[in-house]
Symmetry: C2
Subunit: 526 residues, 2 copies
Amino acid sequence: MDSDYGVPRELSEVQQNRTLYQPELPPCLQGTTVRVEYGDVAIAADPAGAHVISHAYPHTYGQPLAHFLRKAANVPDAKVISEHPAVRVGIVFCGRQSPGGHNVIWGLHEAIKAHNVNSKLIGFLGGTDGLLAQKTLEITNEVLSSYKNQGGYDMLGRTKDQIRTTEQVNGAMATCQALKLDALVIIGGVTSNTDAAQLAETFAEAKCATKVVGVPVTLNGDLKNQFVETTVGFDTICKVNSQLISNMCTDALSAEKYYYFIRMMGRKASHVALECALQSHPNMVILGEEVAASKLTIFDITKQICDAVQARAEKDKNHGVILIPEGLVESIPELYALLQEINGLHGKGVSVENISSQLSPWASALFEFLPQFIRQQLLLRPESDDSAQLSQIETEKLLAQLVETEMNKRLKEGTYKGKKFNAICHFFGYQARGAMPSKFDCDYAYVLGHVCYHILAAGLNGYMATVTNLKSPLNKWRCGAAPISSMMTVKRWSRGPATTQIGKPAVHMASVDLRGKAYEMFSRRH
Amino acid sequence: MDSDYGVPRELSEVQQNRTLYQPELPPCLQGTTVRVEYGDVAIAADPAGAHVISHAYPHTYGQPLAHFLRKAANVPDAKVISEHPAVRVGIVFCGRQSPGGHNVIWGLHEAIKAHNVNSKLIGFLGGTDGLLAQKTLEITNEVLSSYKNQGGYDMLGRTKDQIRTTEQVNGAMATCQALKLDALVIIGGVTSNTDAAQLAETFAEAKCATKVVGVPVTLNGDLKNQFVETTVGFDTICKVNSQLISNMCTDALSAEKYYYFIRMMGRKASHVALECALQSHPNMVILGEEVAASKLTIFDITKQICDAVQARAEKDKNHGVILIPEGLVESIPELYALLQEINGLHGKGVSVENISSQLSPWASALFEFLPQFIRQQLLLRPESDDSAQLSQIETEKLLAQLVETEMNKRLKEGTYKGKKFNAICHFFGYQARGAMPSKFDCDYAYVLGHVCYHILAAGLNGYMATVTNLKSPLNKWRCGAAPISSMMTVKRWSRGPATTQIGKPAVHMASVDLRGKAYEMFSRRH
């Protein structure tokens, strides 16, 4: 399975067949004469934050929306992109891999070369590491040939590092200048796109000629706002996981003696768990957003599950499937508070061994109550975005253990009369993350790659490529671009009676909307 | 996802499409005039065991092989099955579910009804529980309609119990007599087929009219011998798991910072791990049979993995995928000895809490060395076939932890200069076990179901349905039956200098043949 960057690799038969699929383009992007039409100035959705954002992004906030349209015969006003000088474009995978990422690069390469064969697309190796160290690979048809419609990010690799510190931002700028890049395309989720906006602003301020473009690619599906309908990879992840969950449902029904606790990758928001629940019909789903909205404690959740197990046992059903989003632990109020304390102590440089002794009495009591394995996992150093290492915290095991203890207690007391409770835990994450992209993700990513070209050809800076009307067939898709800063929001915390602290503007993760359609469909059934 | 036996259930679109697939029959089974031809008397492969087996199976050992052939125009000698009285047949899922099991029932039902519409097929609910308690469901087209080509065993359910004690065997006989069954078909692996042979023998001895037929269905692929090429479900399991392993390989290559330790369901033998390795090309596979043959200790295996990690790091590769069969723990000599001691103490009725204090000094030292989580898992009560609860013992975590400790030591000592070692553990089991069967398993199971009918129509007792030449297209498949007792072997242990203890004859699990073709292909690459 080893590969070396840029060296043609051996493909399996399935992989070879996959390379033959050629996504189409919506009519607006066909041909070489795409015109750009500007709409209203994009305003941040959070009006109260607009002032803060515009202050932080003076060069890139307040730009208009852009729409890419087919050149009509009679459109004198609209600016038609007709001249296509050769360009030099860099592209980098930021954040975690998501199925379809390779097709963004393919689409961009196609568009660049179609408009001028002398243009160059330069990939950075190993994500931001390569961006800062100028480790590059020129993207050619030969390099691309074995990565078309394939999963993973292995054509270039990625790191999980961000581009945030002044040193990192300056390093990125130095690379763009040294390589004389006209544009830098950043593929990633909320964090990477926030970084892209910051780079764009800094570059504009420093009069660096490189324009920065973001692309919404994350399996979590949590980059969602007024301009972005979904992200590349979410469709694949939900389909692959739903199939596996369905297999578990069949297994539970056949063996009739297990409860499967399945934790779903997807970071803090529960989009993946919700969509998989809609597709695969497990018996129970604990959505982080519901837990947070109702302020359910770990004991409330345990009780809910136990009551459901008991009700099912009364119907002679001693099996079931329960989905748990990996971010649940951060949605449970007391565990979140505990994680925040631990995080604070990490920040103060307290070593892992000493953290537990420095917790507040309240947090310490909770910590000591938890099983040993979870304690170790909660103490892990947080991710680069300050969130807990969600993929490493086995919330499914914690819940299974608490439920088992409670069911045994009820059995002893005689309040539960069913069979002995048996749980089996699974984490569905990495096995779907590397999956081959679905047709939708192949198409969506490929089209976004093309859109990136039109953004940079129009000379736009700090924009994200957008494709909308995605529920319609591809020939109705609409292509455009929106300033990333207009997708930002500003968080506020009260600090004492009269003080409010304001966070940095950022593209924040979108939670599951408890008044949205997906949740409504889900609630109707559960 | 809930269903109740016999009640038509709601199907998803994929499931609905699946029900439309109609497997074909090989030419020898087409039409209603199949003839049976008898071959040589089937002799046990183990000549030394033949005497013991024939003594234990006086009524059913030494019967001839049977071949089912298309009725030719001029075959006066061969017995042609032409009369087809109505029959009453029972069928039961024994052992763990395996993809394709439902199609055995479908095939049998088709054949039974094609030969006499008044025949009845009766399914037992909940496996052997239903067999003993006479909980039945008559199999009809309506019942079958939503289970054709579907995974799981949920049409009838299953238990993991065996039919072994005199009480169980007599209970099964009582059921067969009460229901006036002409035949009882048992779907399962090595254990269930051994039980089937025992039932056949006991029934013959007791002059019970019910004939017993076994069908080779197990995802482990470990029911393999001179008459059985493969088992129903193995093909599906290997395909589904190989796809997931390939996803992990892509993920490892993309993230470039993890070693994935993946434990594969498949009981003691390493067939699933080996086949998946051939299909998906992970970086390393620890086959139980290799470990046993070379008598590798857990420390030897840890060192092998560490050396491989170190060698890869020298080529700047800090990631990889390592497959571990779930049965590995029983192949490691010192862990097997420890498990045997624990098992012995369980047998003596020692409670779980007290076992560790009663271990021999040697076993106790090893036990105390192991991490807490593994100790708990090793202490679990063994399965009904006396093997350890392999699916619950996280050998992948044990190895990952030992390798991490050793790599950190090497890093500190300066003998290893690569990046910090990071492991992520996964167990691939239940999510594949409930998968929809592959085309091969749909066909194979369906044909085996038909073969069962011809076995019982010929009045054979204690036979297993066999289909051979499976690597050729379906129209070249050969159908037959072999006495289960001829697949048995007898195990011997030396007990002191001059005493040899002899086990009961049984259909034993077949290990991976280290001189076989699959292993040879694997060795050539590793």
